[in-house]
Every structure is written in structure tokens, then in C-alpha cells.
């Protein structure tokens, strides 16, 4: 131990030196990087790139240079110098500063979105958020010269995409985007091939409405309109060589400005509220029009968009195809599309709809189960496209064995909902087949179950129907059927089984032709299954008892 101390004494000097050296060396200040990110923002980044010098110049002239350098989440469509040279040629000027400053500002604002949007969220239609100028940009893709490119506003091709900078993302485009400065009315009026249609909108007074700038209502919903126009050629194909012939055919009140005049309706039927590009139409099955309560249906068949193509009563009504190429024409207050054929308002009389609730497309695919006696299958909310509900995971399609008391319904099948009540399954909602506008009586038929809810309410498009449904009530086999009908009941199947019952829920007014929603809400406790058979929508002026449904079969029985 002593020796160790001696050793320390002996080496004292060198220990001190080592310690000092360590301290001195350590003390030199370390340089920390004080910025967290060295990525440049848009303006700074552009200043380093000579190929975009002219756009930088525009930013400087318009005073947006410093703004585009602030932090934020922007998308910039960046025109190349060549594109801007072409723009100057369009204006007939030789320097950027010679372009009127207001127009230049609008142009710059049209190229900027206040959200970061990469090309993966582009669709065939408009970009979800508007440009800072207010107009929407539309995207798409073209294939020419052996390679495909994404396009913006149909004309500008993206040559480099998703360039990330500090405050957003940039897409380089080869053509300057131009603000649509014509209104819908002007767009139609100045197109020589639309002369008959233009005369029609003038004669009917719609010209003024199509000429108004975009306004916003109290919910800040813009007043954009979508017009489906048709060329003179299309009119000629339909036998109208001039506006006079069109007027002679349609204007039955001889006053086109009257909203009830058929010519006025003819025009109104082609104007829809909202800014609907073709991509929007492709996902909109029914589009409202300005003709009161009239809708047009839109269907995507392979790659063509068809207007009013539907199957009614098993008959296919051919639709009219939208001419894709010239469509998606942006105006300052909307968009114009063109069709390949003339079309007119479908005058349809109300038709009965017998909605077998178990007939859901997903159940239908189960070919070993669907309408095959002795089988059942359960599917969950997420798996059924036309049904939804609150609560428990699945509902069951059931086709009981032949001879089973539950098999007496139409098609011999039932939709089986276990415990229709709050906390299990409730607010079960169906999308109906297409119902033509008009007034209907609604009948709901079911297999009685003493453990089903004693009180359930039905809603058509969120409007409650007048009567409640007691699913514990048995069918009445004694009372004469017309007397029974007057009490709001009927024997809907033939031959009848008192295990089944049908109840008149009320009268509805279907305002638009199309698919609607129908919902059951249980107001009472239920310990067992609710078995639904058919929901009938029968026009009010139709016989409410006949045709009846064939028990355990698919037929209709007329007397």
C-alpha cells in the first residue's frame, strides 16, 4: 500500500501534466449546426436553377417572390422558360414586364395551390383543392410520341414531378396555365359548332344565368354549373336543322322563357348545379338538373360515360354517350361537356318496386346459398355494399328448407337480423333499387316472431313513415282482404300463411328518380330474430293487393 502512495508521489508531476493537457484539449468549443434543415424554399430553390429564371422574374415582377419563400405547404406548377417565352408570344410582347400586371398575378396564382399535392392524388378530374386564383385545375394523362405524361388543364404536360422543396412540392410543366376568363354562356356562344344550343339558351333566358360570375351562398357553396351541350351536328342527326325547328318541336307553350315550357325544360335538363368534371360524373350515379326534380343517371360502361342508360322492367334503355375529347371545357363559372346524341327528359310513370331485402349483390354471388333451400350465410357490414347498420358484426341471409314454416315468403328466403334493437343491431339501412319519382305506398312484410321488436320505425331518405311496425303481429287469415287492406294490412303471399304478415307503413313522395335509402329503427327491446321478406313500393294509384307473391317461389300472382 505504502508503495502505491510512493509511486503516486513520484509520478505527481506527470499526472498533473496529463490532466492539464486533457482539460485544455477538451475546452475548445465544438461547432454545432444551428439550423435543422438546409432544404431551400421555393423562391430560393428557383434562383439556383437557371432553367426557371423567367418564372423567378415573374415572381419578382408580381411581388410574389418573398411570399413563395415563406414556410407553408404549397404546390407549385412551375412553367419552364420555353413555356413562358410562348406565353409572351401569345401576348405579343417581348418582355415579362410588358404583360399587364393584373393578368400576370392571376396567372401566377393559378399555378399555386395552398396544399401539398403529389401526383399520386391526381385523378381524371379536378384537383381537390382550388388554385389560389380560385379556379380548379384538372389533371389527366396523355400518350403521344411513344411516352405517357401527366397533364394539367389538358394542355400542359408535366415534365418533372414531385420535386420536394422546403415549403412544398413542385411539378414542372411545359406550358403556362391560362385562367379561363369566359363564362359558360360566352364559351357556348363563341363556339361556332354550338350555334343552335346557344340560340336555345338565349331564347329561354338561361344565357344570363350562365353568364353570372361565381358567387357563394351562406354555406360558402360556390354557384358553379355544369352544362351538357350538344353540337349542331348532333341536333341535325336528331332532325333539327335550325333553332326554329327545335323550338317548333318543344316549345309547347310558345313561350320559351316560361319555366314550364318544354323548350325551357329541355335546356334546364342539361344544366346541373356544381362543378362536375367527367371524373366526377363517373362516380355520380344520379345527377340533379335545373329542370325541377329531374335527374339524369350517369353510368360508366367499360370506358364510356353514358347518360340515362338504365334497365327498367327488364328492358334496357340505351343511353347517350358523352364525347370525351371536347368535354371538360373549363369556364370561369363552370364546365361544359358535349354529348354524341340528342337526349330528352325521360317521362316515366311510377312503377312498382318489390324490394326483396335478402337480394343483395353479395348474397347473390353465393350461388350455393342464394335461393337454395336449406342454406344460410352471414356477411358483415363492410362486405355488403348496399346495406349498413350500427352494431353487431353480421346479418344473415337465410333460405330455409322446403316445407319449413319460415320458407313461405317470396323466393322462400328471408333476411335474418338478430336482435333488432339498440346495443345490438339497429338503424339498419338499405339502398333501394331505382324508384321512379312519384307517390308510393310502402308495405313491409315479415315472418312473425314473438321475440322480434314490437315497435320499429321505417325511414325513407331519413323521413320517418307514418306507421310503426309490430314484428310480433301474426297475419290475419279471416278478415276479407279488402277490409283488411283498409286497416293497413294484407296477405302478401299466396298461398297464405298466418306466420307471415304485411303492413302498410305509409305513403311516400319520391322526388327524384334514382336509388334512395330505406332504414329500420327499432324502438323496443328484441330478444330474437327479425325476419324480413319484401318491401313493396306500390304507386298509390295501383292495386295494392295484386299481384301477390308466390309463396316459396319467384312468381307474381295476378288474381
Amino acid at each position: 500500500m505504502e508503495k502505491i502512495f510512493k509511486l503516486i508521489k513520484k509520478w505527481k508531476f506527470s499526472i498533473v501534466i496529463v490532466l492539464l493537457a486533457t482539460i485544455i484539449l477538451c475546452c475548445s468549443e465544438e461547432k454545432y449546426k444551428e439550423t435543422t434543415d438546409e432544404t431551400l424554399n421555393i423562391t430560393e430553390y428557383l434562383r439556383t436553377m437557371p432553367e426557371y429564371s423567367m418564372f423567378v422574374e415573374i415572381l419578382d415582377v408580381t411581388g410574389y417572390a418573398s411570399f413563395m419563400n415563406t414556410y407553408g405547404t404549397y404546390t407549385l406548377f412551375l412553367p419552364t422558360n420555353d413555356a413562358i417565352t410562348n406565353l409572351m408570344a401569345d401576348f405579343g410582347v417581348s418582355s415579362i414586364s410588358a404583360i399587364p400586371i393584373e393578368e400576370l398575378r392571376d396567372i401566377v396564382k393559378l399555378h399555386i395551390l395552398e396544399e401539398t399535392i403529389t401526383t399520386t392524388s391526381f385523378t381524371d378530374g379536378k384537383i381537390a383543392s382550388p388554385s389560389m386564383q380560385g379556379q380548379f385545375l384538372i389533371t389527366g394523362a396523355t400518350y403521344d410520341g411513344g411516352s405517357a405524361s401527366i397533364t394539367v388543364n389538358k394542355e400542359a404536360k408535366i415534365t418533372a414531378s414531385n420535386v420536394e422543396v422546403g415549403n412544398g412540392v413542385m411539378h414542372v410543366i411545359d406550358k403556362v396555365l391560362r385562367v379561363a376568363d369566359k363564362t359558360l354562356a360566352e364559351t357556348i356562344d363563341t363556339d361556332a359548332s354550338l350555334s343552335i344550343f346557344a340560340e336555345a339558351i338565349k331564347a329561354t333566358g338561361w344565357y344570363d344565368k350562365l353568364d353570372q360570375p361565381v358567387t357563394y351562398d351562406e354555406d360558402s357553396i360556390p354557384s358553379y354549373l355544369t352544362v351538357i351541350a350538344q353540337t349542331d351536328e348532333v341536333f341535325q342527326k336528331a332532325g333539327f336543322n335550325s333553332f326554329d325547328e327545335l323550338k317548333a318541336r318543344y316549345s309547347h307553350l310558345n313561350d320559351p322563357t316560361n319555366l314550364e315550357d318544354s323548350l325551357n325544360l329541355f335546356v334546364a335538363y342539361r344544366i346541373s348545379p356544381g362543378l362536375n368534371y367527367l371524373a366526377d360524373l363517373a362516380v355520380t350515379p344520379a345527377l340533379l338538373t335545373q329542370a325541377p326534380l329531374e335527374v339524369i343517371s350517369v353510368k360508366l360502361a367499360a370506358d364510356s360515360l353514358l347518360i340515362n342508360e338504365e334497365v327498367f322492367n327488364g328492358v334496357l334503355e340505351k343511353g347517350v354517350e358523352i364525347n370525351r375529347e371536347p368535354s371538360d371545357e373549363t369556364a370561369s363559372n363552370g364546365v361544359v361537356h358535349l354529348v354524341k346524341d340528342n337526349y330528352f327528359i325521360k317521362k316515366r310513370l311510377p312503377q312498382p318496386v318489390y324490394f326483396d331485402l335478402g337480394d343483395q349483390p353479395e348474397f347473390r354471388q353465393l350461388s350455393a346459398v342464394f335461393r337454395k333451400p336449406g342454406n344460410y350465410a352471414s356477411l358483415s357490414d363492410a362486405e355488403l355494399s348496399s346495406m349498413s347498420w350500427e352494431g353487431s358484426p353480421s346479418v344473415t341471409y337465410s333460405c330455409p328448407a322446403i316445407g319449413d314454416g319460415n320458407a313461405a315468403g317470396w323466393h322462400g328466403d328471408l333476411l335474418d337480423v338478430l336482435r333488432l334493437r339498440d346495443g345490438y343491431i339497429n338503424n339498419i339501412e338499405f339502398t333501394t333499387p331505382v324508384i321512379i319519382k312519384g307517390q308510393y305506398k310502402v308495405w313491409v312484410s315479415y315472418r312473425t316472431n314473438p321475440r322480434a321488436p314490437s315497435s320499429a320505425r321505417a325511414f325513407f331518405n331519413d323521413v320517418p313513415l307514418s306507421r310503426l311496425l309490430n314484428m310480433q303481429e301474426y297475419g290475419d287469415s279471416g278478415t276479407p282482404e279488402r277490409v283488411l287492406e283498409s286497416q293497413g294490412y294484407k296477405r302478401h303471399i299466396e298461398p297464405f300463411s298466418s306466420r307471415f304478415n304485411s303492413r302498410l307503413m305509409g305513403i311516400i313522395n319520391v322526388e327524384t328518380t334514382g336509388r334512395h335509402t330505406f332504414r329500420f329503427q327499432s324502438l323496443a327491446y328484441a330478444g330474437g330474430n327479425s325476419w324480413f321478406d319484401v318491401v313493396e313500393f306500390r304507386p298509390v294509384d295501383m292495386d295494392q293487393l295484386y299481384p301477390k307473391f308466390e309463396s316459396s317461389g319467384s312468381g307474381l300472382i295476378y288474381d
Binding site: 403529389t118 401526383t119 399520386t120 391526381f122 385523378t123 381524371d124 378530374g125 389533371t139 389527366g140 394523362a141 396523355t142 400518350y143 411513344g146 411516352s147 405517357a148 405524361s149 401527366i150 408535366i158 415534365t159 418533372a160 414531378s161 414531385n162 367527367l278 371524373a279 366526377d280 363517373a282 362516380v283 360508366l300 367499360a302 370506358d303 370525351r324 353479395e362 348474397f363 354471388q365 353465393l366 350461388s367 350455393a368 346459398v369 342464394f370 337454395k372 350465410a377 356477411l379 363492410a382 362486405e383
Partner: protein, 498 residues
């Protein structure tokens, strides 16, 4: 004095002992190359490692497995798969032909990892012959054939997916290796693949000792099947036919289609290694497959809703009349769940602990249909139709999916073969490659095959964009991942992804 001597000795002992370990730079938890590659067992272990790397990702990596990538590359764009609850955004972008270089699914690391394992065996295996006198040339040849074939399959898959890819044929053994490799054109990659497979075929064995080895390891038959596939991509139909016939007429290992019966699904898929199997990745109950999560527990994919009706055909009048490959074999009707890899039989799924269904790289039916394709292209459509008929007979295919074509209708037969491949190889990672291979024939004469799939399956509001993009052949290949571009400056991005 005595203590001093004692101290010196103590110091010496301490220093000598500790220094040994302290100064040793070799890793403590691994084996180095100098220690390994000494005996034939080492070579065998390395080859086994290659197979294992096809089945699983090494524990140090957080990648997906090879079958998962092949499934995504082969199915997502093929129109038979749609998104499910757990589909990632990157997967959805691939489903909708909306792929950017930042998409994580475009990383090819998993493939090059396997390639490097193969290269290591090819480079370091032969010198072992001198070190281990019990190691025979024959054994070495078998191992080399296995490594060459698996490497060829990796490059074949990469070239079909990315078009031009870097070709590295030597092992990467140190950090000093050159990693700045440019891409090699697709045609050259295919040529290299053919060369490797021909070399391998000369060295490979006909059969091993057990069935599991015959189906799970590389044999001459595996190699010739793969050659058929590559020749079809090269549009070299004469050689494709020759290679296919070598397998079909091989007497050492004979294949046959198993007749349709309720146990067909269980034997072919749930158990595997049947007489219709050529090469399968052998998952076991000790080494479970990744599919149970993918398709059942946290489903990432569903069958496209129209598949049951459009691909397999649905007889609404007689539910018993069905193609054994459809309902409860490939998929579950109604829910559209993909069933091939999780089912045990018609009624029961496997449990998670038994989830050992193999990944099927080549099956006999696949080879037969490839042969039919070669025959058809060689204007021998009638013979091709006979093959389709034989297969349909064995699978109890329903009349609704039978097509009335004659042998001289080349395009008709081509479509029929494609439709039959959709039924036979549903969800086996082949669909997109089948479409692409046929579309690119004769300088993209049949590009409509791909466009029509997009028209059917694209989201309605993106359809036009997708169709226009797909006109560009470069869009049929994935972009090089941005990370690869960043680390390897010699790479040039596919021009479509500008």
C-alpha cells in the same frame, strides 16, 4: 525482491491474457469467411441458407419476404386483387398504377440479398474442393446448380418487374467492392439468365432422395421449367417447347394432374408436394408462412369482386357445378377473401400454428399452359387446345368458361390460355407477368390486354389517366427506388417516372 518478481509475473499474466481478446478484431457473435468455407458441410449450410433466404427475411432486416414481393409485383396490377382493410397506401398506389420512386414497395434489396448469397456460394464454393478431400466434384456441381438457378430466378423476376437492372455476378465480400453499378438492359439480363440456367442444367441432379427435396430443391426439371418461362419472355418458342418437353417426358420424375375431388385442394395446396408440383418454397409448422397475416388476420388483399363470376364462372342454376379451383380454393365467395394459402379443405381453414402452406413457384399445370402458349405461337393451336381441354377436364371447369375457338385462331387461343392461367394460377403471383408477357409480344402488338384490365378494374375517376399511362410501355415496369438512386449514382431512372 520477492514481491517485485511476484508483481512482474502477475502483471505479465494479466497483460498476456487480456491482450489476446482485446486486440482481436474478429466478431464475437459470428463466423468469418476465413473460418467458414473449409468443409463440404460449410458449403451445404450456405446453400441451405439460400433457400432459407427465399422463405424468410434474415432477423437483422426488416424487409418483406420474397413471396410477399412476388405476390405484390405479380398480382397488384393484374386486376384480380383489390384492397382490403389493412392495405397500405403504397400498395393502393400500386393497385392504381400511381407509383412513385418513393414507394417503398419498389425496393429490390430483398432480391439482391438472395443474389449475393448465391454469388457467395458460386465464388467461394469451388475452392473448398481442395480443402476438403471428402467433397466431390459431383456434390459441388449440385450446389452450384442450385445457386445458379436461384440467382437466375431472382434476376428473371427483377427484369420482369423493373426492366433494366444492375447485373452483379460476383459475391460482394468487402466494403471496397464497387457498388456504383449501372443497369444492364432487360434483354441482356434474360440472356444471362438463360446462360446460367443452361450451365446449371448440366450440373443439376435429376432427383434427390425424398419427395420434399424433389419439390423443394432445384432439379433438372425445375431448371427446364424455368427455362420454358424465360424462353417465352424472349419469344423463343422453339426452345420453350423443347425445354417444356424435357420436363414432360422425363422418366426419372413423372408429373400428373390430380383428378378433381373434394381432397384436391387439401393435397395440392394445403399439404403441397404432390405429383403436380415442380418447385415450392417449403414452409413448415416450425417455419410458418407470412400468408396467414396477409390474407386472414390482418388482410391486405381481397379478390376483386368480379373474379368469382368472371374468372371461374358462376352457375346460378346448379351450385354444385363448379370449377374446383374457384370457390373455397382460390377465394371465399361473398367475402372475397383469398383462401388459397389459409384454407385446409373446403370447409375449414388452417389454424395459425399450422399455417405452413407453401409458396408455389412452378406447378405442372403452369408448365402445361406454358407449353400450350409456345405451341400456339408456333401455329400449332390445335395441340394447345388439347392441353387446355385436358387441364379443364381435370379441374372440373364449368361449361360457362369454355371458349369456342379453333386452333387456327391464334389470338383466340392466346386469350383462352390467358383465361385458363387466371383460373389455374389465381393469386400465385403470376397474373400481371402473364398479361405483360403476352402484351409485349411482337413489339407490343397486344397492349390492349393490359389496357382492358385497367378499364375493368381501375377506380372510375382515375380510369382515363391510368389507361393513358399504360399506353407507355415504360409504365409497365416499376421505378428504381429513390434510395437506390441516391446511393448508386450510376443508375438512371426509368423515363416514365419523370
Amino acid at each position: 525482491m520477492r514481491t517485485r518478481i511476484f508483481n512482474v509475473i502477475l502483471l505479465a499474466v494479466v497483460l498476456l491474457q487480456s491482450c489476446d481478446n482485446y486486440l482481436d478484431l474478429r466478431p464475437e457473435n459470428g463466423t468469418t469467411r476465413e473460418e467458414f468455407w473449409q468443409t463440404k458441410e460449410d458449403v451445404k449450410a450456405a446453400v441451405t441458407g439460400i433457400y432459407l433466404s427465399l422463405l424468410n427475411t434474415p432477423p437483422s432486416e426488416s424487409d418483406l419476404t420474397i413471396p410477399e414481393y412476388i405476390f405484390m409485383y405479380g398480382e397488384l396490377r393484374g386486376g384480380m386483387v383489390s384492397a382490403a382493410q389493412y392495405t397500405s397506401d403504397d400498395q393502393i398506389d400500386m393497385l392504381t398504377t400511381n407509383i412513385l420512386p418513393s414507394n417503398s414497395l419498389t425496393t429490390w434489396r430483398a432480391f439482391y440479398r438472395v443474389i449475393n448469397f448465391c454469388n457467395t456460394v458460386i465464388d467461394l464454393g469451388p475452392p473448398v474442393l481442395d480443402l476438403d478431400p471428402t467433397f466431390t466434384q459431383e456434390e459441388l456441381n449440385t450446389y452450384l446448380a442450385e445457386a445458379l438457378t436461384i440467382r437466375a430466378y431472382m434476376y428473371f423476376t427483377l427484369a420482369r418487374t423493373f426492366k433494366d437492372v444492375p447485373l452483379k455476378l460476383e459475391a460482394t465480400l468487402s466494403d471496397e467492392d464497387n457498388f456504383q453499378l449501372p443497369t444492364t438492359p432487360q434483354a441482356d439480363i434474360f440472356a444471362q439468365v438463360v446462360q446460367d440456367l443452361l450451365d446449371a442444367e448440366a450440373m443439376a441432379v435429376e432427383t434427390y432422395e425424398s419427395v420434399a427435396e424433389n419439390k423443394g430443391k432445384i432439379t433438372k426439371n425445375t431448371i427446364n421449367t424455368m427455362l420454358t418461362d424465360v424462353y417465352l419472355w424472349q419469344e423463343d418458342y422453339d426452345n420453350a417447347l423443347i425445354a417444356a418437353d424435357k420436363v414432360i417426358t422425363n422418366t426419372n420424375e413423372t408429373y400428373e394432374l390430380i383428378e378433381a375431388s373434394p381432397s384436391w385442394f387439401t393435397s395440392v395446396y394445403a399439404r403441397g408436394n404432390t405429383s403436380e408440383s415442380i418447385f415450392e418454397l417449403q414452409y413448415t409448422t416450425q417455419n410458418l408462412n407470412p400468408f396467414y397475416f396477409m390474407f386472414l388476420l390482418a388482410p391486405q388483399y381481397l379478390a376483386e369482386a368480379s373474379v368469382l363470376e368472371d374468372v371461374f364462372g358462376l352457375d346460378f342454376n346448379d351450385p354444385e357445378n363448379k370449377d374446383i379451383r374457384g370457390e373455397r380454393a382460390s377465394m371465399v365467395p361473398g367475402t372475397n377473401e383469398i383462401y388459397k394459402y389459409t384454407g385446409f379443405d373446403e370447409n375449414n381453414r388452417k389454424s395459425f400454428a399450422e399455417s405452413d402452406t407453401h409458396w408455389f413457384i412452378y406447378r405442372y399445370a403452369d408448365l402445361l399452359l406454358m407449353k400450350a402458349e409456345a405451341l400456339n405461337e408456333l401455329n400449332r393451336g390445335e395441340e394447345a387446345l388439347l392441353i387446355i381441354e385436358e387441364l379443364r377436364e381435370a379441374r372440373a371447369a364449368i361449361d360457362l368458361t369454355e371458349e369456342q375457338v379453333t386452333g387456327d385462331n391464334k389470338n383466340g387461343v392466346r386469350q383462352y390460355i390467358l383465361a385458363e392461367r387466371a383460373r389455374e394460377l389465381a393469386f400465385e403471383g403470376k397474373r400481371w407477368f402473364d398479361l405483360l408477357r403476352n402484351a409485349r409480344k411482337e413489339n407490343y402488338a397486344y397492349i390492349n390486354l393490359i389496357i382492358n384490365v385497367a378499364i375493368q378494374s381501375a377506380p372510375a375517376n382515375q380510369q382515363q389517366t391510368i389507361v393513358a399511362k399504360l399506353q407507355d410501355p415504360n409504365s409497365h415496369y416499376l421505378p428504381i427506388n429513390e434510395y437506390e438512386l441516391y446511393t448508386n449514382k450510376a443508375l438512371v431512372q426509368n423515363p416514365f417516372y419523370k
